[in-house]
């Protein structure tokens, strides 16, 4: 009898302890709502990024999580449609009552819509290389991050590159630079910067909007190829728009080697469908291309080796896949930074925002993560949510991206004052008092 009571007690205690640890484990995960688009006209861009995200998250979990804390995520497909993106965010922002810590919408339209929502939900909004550029001012946008670079920085760095090609920035005087852009918030972002640069360096800046989804560009390129003949043309395309630009340029006889795509017009999915037309096409990126890094080998071994890959193995190392890795690396570094302060727990969104503001991705740290030389070191601060980084230009040889240029750093002296004045205008319009404890 006594024995039986003992046994039951033991079983109960074990059960309670087990269920408690079970509960603790359930909460010991960091939840990320993942907005993806693998359908629609922008799927060529959405698919590899989605694959890269999920592979990286799986890799992190397979190697013991972030300081022992596992990542958990749910995906929601929104087809690059802003209305559905917002609905998706509301649908998956929390799981079992646990609010997500960060969201990466991969769409400038959705990013704009989520700025107020994520603030209300205490979540980090990391728009890496897209979204609102003025959100780089961390004093006004405390929870939005644009690291490692913004569109404004990008065009200044591309201008530096163009300057290099023609023997110095002073030679830009009298030259013509055209911008062919997706006629949306995304494509319009770099215009004020290019206007400022055009005033500063004396080149003529020409604007060519292309309407969604970007399949109709004949008249645009006719003007560029026959009428205005700019010395360089920068393309801000996404999805099917970029390949159409390349094809139309070739058809009209505009030299493809004078076209520089931005980093969202820089993937294999943009150049391959354009075939031989795209030989010589150049595009920017804030990271290198290829899979000759330790991290890629580890992902191939631990994720794909275990039959757990999120897509085609051949995509690993492609431009947009690598872009997703940059996103993942910054995110996990932010978690680590936050865990240094708050302990190795499943941190919440507010704590993650603190972590983001203390990300210091040195080259030693990049080496340690198996990404030596993959990107330039990055340091994010409280006031500067963009950090400082550099980009390089690759050239398409018909099969692969190659011929990398040197790294070009943006002209922060041009962009930062613009960011601050734009953020100040937003703060005034929305009644936000900028944080004063930042410097």
């Amino acid at each position: 009898m006594n024995n039986l009571v003992k046994k039951i007690t033991i079983v109960m205690i074990v059960g309670v302890v087990f269920s408690l640890t079970g509960l603790a484990q359930a909460a010991e995960k960091i939840y990320v709502p993942m907005l993806t688009y693998t359908t629609g006209p922008y799927a060529p861009g959405g698919i590899p990024v989605d694959q890269g995200f999920r592979d990286y998250f799986k890799y992190v979990n397979a190697t013991g999580g972030v300081n022992g804390v596992m990542l958990d995520w749910e995906t929601c497909e929104f087809g690059y449609n802003t209305d559905r993106g917002v609905e998706c965010y509301e649908r998956i922002k929390s799981k079992n009552g646990q609010m997500g810590v960060a969201v990466f919408p991969l769409s400038t339209g959705v990013t704009y819509a989520l700025v107020p929502r994520t603030e209300a939900d205490g979540m980090v909004l990391h728009s890496m290389g897209y979204g609102r550029t003025d959100a780089s001012d961390g004093r006004v946008f405390s929870h939005v991050f644009t690291a490692p670079m913004t569109y404004w920085s990008q065009v200044t760095a591309i201008t530096r590159y163009i300057g290099d090609q023609i023997g110095g920035l002073n030679n830009l005087k009298g030259k013509k630079i055209a911008l062919v852009y997706h006629n949306s918030a995304y494509g319009k972002e770099p215009i004020p910067t290019l206007e400022a640069l055009s005033a500063k360096y004396g080149f003529k800046f020409l604007k060519y909007p292309v309407n969604h989804p970007g399949l109709e560009q004949k008249s645009t390129w006719l003007k560029i190829g026959r009428q205005t003949k700019p010395d360089y043309t920068i393309v801000f395309g996404w999805g099917v728009m970029t390949q159409t630009s390349i094809k139309e340029a070739k058809a009209i006889g505009y030299p493809v080697s004078k076209i520089i795509g931005n980093w969202w017009s820089a993937s294999e999915n943009d150049t391959r469908p354009a075939g031989a037309a795209s030989v010589g096409y150049k595009a920017a990126g804030f990271h290198t291309i290829g899979k000759n890094y330790q991290l890629h080998k580890d992902i191939l071994a631990k994720v794909y080796g275990a039959g757990n890959g999120s897509g085609e193995k051949s995509v690993v190392g492609e431009v947009l896949y690598n872009r997703a890795l940059v996103q993942g690396v910054i995110f996990t570094e932010a978690i680590r930074a936050a865990q240094k302060k708050y302990g190795n727990i499943a941190i919440n969104g507010k704590q993650l925002a603190w972590g983001y503001e203390h990300v210091n991705l040195t080259s030693a740290r990049l080496n340690e993560m198996g990404l030596g030389g993959f990107m330039k070191p990055l340091k994010i601060t409280c006031a500067n949510h963009e950090g400082a980084n550099s980009l390089l230009i690759h050239e398409w040889d018909g099969k692969n991206w190659g011929n990398p240029s040197k790294w070009y750093s943006p002209m922060y002296d041009v962009t930062r004052p613009m960011i601050e004045s734009s953020a100040a205008a937003y703060a005034k319009e929305n009644g936000i008092t900028p944080r004063s404890n930042c410097n």
Partner: protein, 359 residues
């Protein structure tokens, strides 16, 4: 049985001309409104309030606006997206230029501005009809979006052409827009607005103006002969319709997305609203609501159904299934009832009134 009208005597003109002459209808609508005001806020979570109901109300309003123009006045329009954008941008300009203006006035004035714009684009309707008019209104769609894209004054010189409405208080400490606005406040506000505007629409339609619209729709020459001025009838239809669309657009920008770019009101949005009234029922207030529910809520439901059932499918597969099922349902309903879902309800009601003793 359910619809037995025995004993419901109409002893005055007033009762004969009531909005809903059948008592059962009256009770049903009252119960529905009570349900929307009391039960839904208690049981629905933030996701439902914000992503389903708010979206549904706003699109119902836009569909109502287009239904006035296309369903009642017979003027085919593809400019709905442009008129919604017009409402959103004028509301934004009003709210930022006059920060102390109350949201109701902002919406009302934005509606009036859109009504004026709508009347301007309605002028071609005096000369052309049918599909040709659709092309003329298409010009409104493209011109308005082009204008908001092109002229930085409309966006207060925002670099990317995106507008973010400022936080506005409804009354006291209750915010209606911005981060401090709760979903519940937005829900009640939009619900009230939709009910008020739907009642107004119903009354306009059964009055003198609405009858002139319908006469114009059914045969314009005959209507002119009996003394209806086409100028007044058509332009008033454009004005009232644009007023509704403008308010819907402003609500969309201010309450739902919170920030909006002109691209959000592109041509697809116009088509979407046109499909709502075609599927819901042309010339029917109920049809606008049913159509909006069909086009807005059903795809979301189809998209989340596999997850609710516990099926682990990839996002793209779910989306493809959603498109297929949704497409099949559109075809099915158009075959079963080409006059729209509201007509389906109308037939059911007629049958119920006679049941169980049909002649």
């Amino acid at each position: 049985m359910i619809y037995r009208e025995a004993g419901q005597f109409k002893t005055s003109y007033k009762s004969d001309q009531a909005l809903l002459p059948i008592a059962q209808d009256r009770f049903f609508v009252m119960a529905l409104v009570a349900f929307a005001y009391i039960v839904i806020p208690m049981v629905a979570n933030d996701y439902w309030l914000n992503s389903i109901f708010l979206q549904f109300f706003i699109f119902s309003l836009a569909a109502l606006g287009l239904n006035i123009l296309t369903g009642y006045a017979g003027q085919l329009s593809l400019g709905t997206g442009g008129f919604m954008a017009c409402g959103a941008f004028s509301a934004f300009k009003l709210a930022t230029s006059f920060p102390d203006m109350h949201i109701v006035f902002v919406l009302f004035l934005a509606g009036l501005i859109t009504a004026a714009v709508g009347m301007f684009f309605g002028i071609p309707s005096l000369r052309i009809k049918g599909f040709y008019l659709a092309v003329a209104t298409l010009a409104a769609q493209f011109f308005l979006l082009w204008l908001f894209n092109r002229v930085p004054w409309f966006t207060n010189y925002s670099s990317s052409g995106v507008i973010s409405p400022p936080p506005i208080k409804l009354f006291g400490d209750y915010y209606i827009t911005g981060t401090q606005a709760t979903n519940l406040t937005q829900y009640f506000f939009t619900l009230t607005l939709v009910i008020v505007l739907a009642l107004a629409a119903r009354n306009i339609i059964r009055g003198h103006i609405g009858r002139s619209w319908m006469a114009m729709r059914d045969m314009d020459i005959a209507a002119e002969i009996i003394g209806i001025s086409p100028l007044k009838a058509k332009l008033s239809a454009f004005a009232v319709s644009s007023f509704y669309c403008g308010i819907a657009g402003a609500l969309w920008a201010f309450l739902y997305t919170g920030t909006v770019e002109p691209l959000a009101f592109e041509i697809n949005q116009s088509f979407k609203i046109l499909f709502m009234i075609i599927i819901g029922g042309l010339g029917s207030i109920l049809g606008s609501f049913v159509g909006a529910a069909f086009i807005v809520v059903l795809p979301i439901f189809l998209n989340s159904a596999p997850a609710m059932l516990g099926l682990k499918l990839s996002g793209s597969l779910v989306t493809h299934i959603e498109f297929m099922v949704f497409g099949a349902l559109i075809v099915f309903f158009l075959i079963v009832e080409p006059h729209g879902l509201a007509r389906l309800w109308g037939i059911a009601k007629e049958k119920l009134r006679l049941w169980p003793f049909p002649y």
